[in-house]
Assembly symmetry: C2
Homo-oligomer: 519 residues x 2
């Protein structure tokens, strides 16, 4: 038994002052696990905030080299403790071992990759204007600009990625890479996974001499803990992945602050796929296979799971549809993440079924589901805006359009999306659809599906509202780090002045860059 399980991590200290306890649940059986988890008290929250502020003031001045070593150290620590992490991941999420392995690898990679973004200088966005003392009418000053961390960051763990969008996730990795201290509000549906994750990050932090409070991990079953955190003046940015309702509730709380701060909320999407006539006629089986695999993946519990399929009607449409129905009906039932998610899924699919025609109704049992397929006409879609609203979990609605005009009209009615996909055969077709697709989404996939978000330099995971709250930023890829930074320009810091400075290893980020090491 781990001595810290069930307790809050407040920096390097574990704490369980409160009497409000809750339990993790095995979603396959709906039975609770035995450890009681102590919801953080207001005293514990305040201590975490105070430590976070103090740690920030130390961490932001630690050399970039040490920051990079720390981030890489987290990945090593996780790899050395993989079995325990994977075990809790599977037990608490109901997700299969292969998914756990993929997500674990992604989480380790994120710490290493974001370390590289800092190490190479990329994340600092360094810009230099040289002085021109002879310029008329006024001399030009030298300007050097680069990013510094914003301050303590609060991250909300997400239920659907117990590793990659939770305590070991991209928000934590990018905030630490930015130079910020972090307080994680653990998701109540995987408290063991989250606590074990926090413990290993803290072990790495200790080994790398990081300040007490660089990470705190608070347990919470209800909304009040998150509320206290985001409204505290010491917090300077918030990362959230979840529902539109959850994100907007947080934004409302943040709007009440004296000092506005950025909430980086990634709130979900219906991820429409458009299949043009040409493509549907030429390769119906390939398209049906790709789409059904994407919808089926892990019971569709992804922010990028496709929920809408716009098709241009073809002679082979019925056989294409039959192929989708076959794939859906032959799929195994899969466990959803927790009883709350499956309950919501059943409610939403029931609501939605009243608006469309159900072609195949997935079987279900406890928290286990099979995907549901429905269809509707373009006219119905045009007249009922609720049809496009996201259903979290495997559920696909086909919108039958007679021609390109109807397709484009339907796409123009969409709210903002994380992704849209286009199956097309010719460049001309693609050109005709790019204007409406770019207007609606943050990522456009040509002849492919939206699931499987590449953690990469050029990734954009964030789109127009309501898919996210600030579409300039991404929650995946190197640019994710920028969410937790702000630029400062140094004027008149001459090269001569800078070059006299001491060695990088002994110094801090400001001097490091003024030294010209990354010019």
């Amino acid at each position: 038994m781990n001595p810290y399980l069930g307790k809050n991590h407040i920096g390097y200290q574990v704490s369980a002052l409160g009497n409000h306890v809750f339990f993790g649940i095995d979603p396959k059986t709906n039975q609770p696990f035995e450890t009681s988890f102590h919801q953080a008290t207001s005293e514990e929250i305040d201590l975490a905030l105070a430590k976070s502020q103090e740690a920030f003031d130390v961490y932001r001045l630690i050399s970039i080299e040490k920051r990079v070593q720390f981030l890489k150290g987290i990945s090593e620590k996780l790899k050395a403790n993989k079995d325990l992490l994977i075990q809790w991941f599977c037990a608490e999420s109901g997700l299969p071992q292969d998914r756990a392995e993929v997500e674990f690898a992604r989480s380790c990679f994120q710490f290493e990759y974001y370390a590289q973004a800092v190490e190479t200088g990329y994340a600092l966005e360094i810009k230099i204007d040289s002085a021109d003392p002879d310029r008329k009418p006024n001399p030009k000053p030298s300007l050097t600009k680069f990013n510094i961390p914003v301050g303590p960051v609060v991250v909300f763990g997400a239920s659907n990625f117990p590793f990659a969008y939770s305590t070991l996730g991209g928000d934590v990795a990018s905030a630490l890479a930015a130079g910020c201290s972090v307080i994680v509000k653990a998701h109540a549906m995987h408290p063991h996974t989250s606590s074990v994750s926090a413990q290993f990050i803290l072990e790495a932090a200790k080994e790398h001499g990081m300040p007490d409070g660089i990470l705190s991990h608070l347990l919470a079953e209800d909304f009040t803990i998150g509320q206290s955190l985001v409204q505290d003046s010491r917090v300077k940015a918030v990362g959230f992945t979840g529902s539109i309702g959850g994100g907007m509730a947080l934004q409302k709380l943040i709007n009440e602050r004296k000092e506005p701060i950025s909430l980086y909320a990634e709130m979900g999407s219906s991820n429409p796929i458009v299949a043009l006539k040409s493509a549907l006629e030429k390769r119906p089986s390939e398209i049906a296979k790709q789409i059904s695999a994407s919808v089926l993946l892990n019971a569709g519990q992804f922010c990028t799971s496709p929920g809408l399929l716009f098709i241009e009607e073809t002679a082979n449409f019925n056989s294409f549809k039959e192929e989708l129905i076959r794939a859906f009906s032959q799929s195994e039932i899969q466990c959803m993440l927790h009883p709350g998610i499956s309950k919501r899924y059943f409610e939403r699919t029931k609501e939605h079924a009243a608006l469309v025609e159900v072609l195949y109704e997935g079987k279900h049992e406890g928290n286990f589901i099979q995907p549901t397929l429905s269809e509707t006409s373009a006219a119905q879609f045009f007249s009922n805006p609720r049809i496009q609203e996201e259903i979290f979990g495997s559920y696909l609605t086909i919108i039958k359009c007679a021609n390109e005009t109807e397709l484009k009209r339907g796409l123009a009615l969409l709210e903002g999306q994380l992704t849209t996909s286009l199956y097309a055969e010719t460049m001309g077709e693609t050109d005709r659809f790019l204007p409406v697709l770019t207007a609606k989404s943050g990522r456009i996939i040509l002849n492919g599906v939206p699931t499987g978000v590449e953690v990469s330099f050029a990734q954009q995971h964030g789109g127009p509202f309501p898919s996210s709250l600030n579409s300039y930023f991404t929650s995946v890829g190197w640019d994710a780090i920028k969410r937790f930074q702000r630029p400062v320009t140094f004027q008149n810091f001459s090269e001569d002045f800078s070059s006299k400075r001491v060695d990088f290893n002994e110094n801090n980020i400001f001097l490091h860059f003024l030294n010209g090491k990354y010019h």
Copy 2:
């Protein structure tokens, strides 16, 4: 008489449907000019919004080359009509001819310079990940990411820069450079300058074949016009330069929208200057001259005008102070921008005088003022947070500190600033102050004053709250364009697919970049 003076510009159409009229005022005499300006009606606002949406949908697909030519064309058009613009600028602002010339040159330069940011590809932030079809376990897709415009933008003209932060200003230039249509809410205190400016931008737009509605210019004396604009669902971003009260009132209105959008508000700052003992002992006259010139410039009506001077007491402090008093008392009285600003200045200086000791009280007459110098002890500053609040106009308060510890404690109490300055002699001193200075500001000036914001690549004009609302962004320099863009990632758009596309000149921004022209 110009046939459009007094009327709203709704795209290429002039309109004066309303009965609510107001007049420009000569701040030197407080007498109104003769032309009556018609405040925009709700019908006119709605038409401007509809045209802005339509124009956006056209403009965003126009080639980058044409966009660049248009921006450069604006600068040419302005230069050809310089005399008329300068004449109204001086008449309505009370600012001298030399200032008008500098600001005019800056405005023209901004259109040209931001055109370059687009032309060179800088503003598009293009990022490319090549595909790796052989990667295990999954092939890596190709990803190409670049910025596209967000949508129609509303810009509020600022009273203190009738050119450079108004209709010809950086927000308009950067929004047009981003590919957005713009609606300007003119500042009521320079309606002639603003209307003439709009007319010339529109003439350039027409000559370059830009869509009707790419720019609208609405006249408004009261707050309701701005309110209608920022709450309209067609508007996707807002640029504002002005007071903290004004910016926060706009943010409150925006918080009531269904779709949150970014308000880029640059709200002012006390721009503290720190003079260390070493510097004050070595070059008191140089420092006194630089600081007094900066405080005196154009009656201190700049967001970067210094209002606080933290000094470490020295044996020569009294003679340094005498030098400042001499410079302040010997300065000519200068006209403030309008009666509202001078009224507010008198109120604020009176409030402030009750908190500090006034060393020299500036003379005043009508809207004309001389600067005021005051001082206070570190202890007083520590105990009264109101001392640090900005006074718009020439007014400097010296905060006398006994040593570095007091200086740092004072700086740590500061709210967010656009700039801080440091007069220091050694690298060691600078190193010791950088942590607190970076924590508080967006730009740090070594041995120099904050006025004279360089329009340049590496500029940061925006700092922690309340100096601006989102400190990641800047309102000056190439990065200002990013405020009005968002990135989109294109997945699986292969080089082969892209290279077959038609020539750049014939094509739009998406295809242009997919073509690899800027890779």
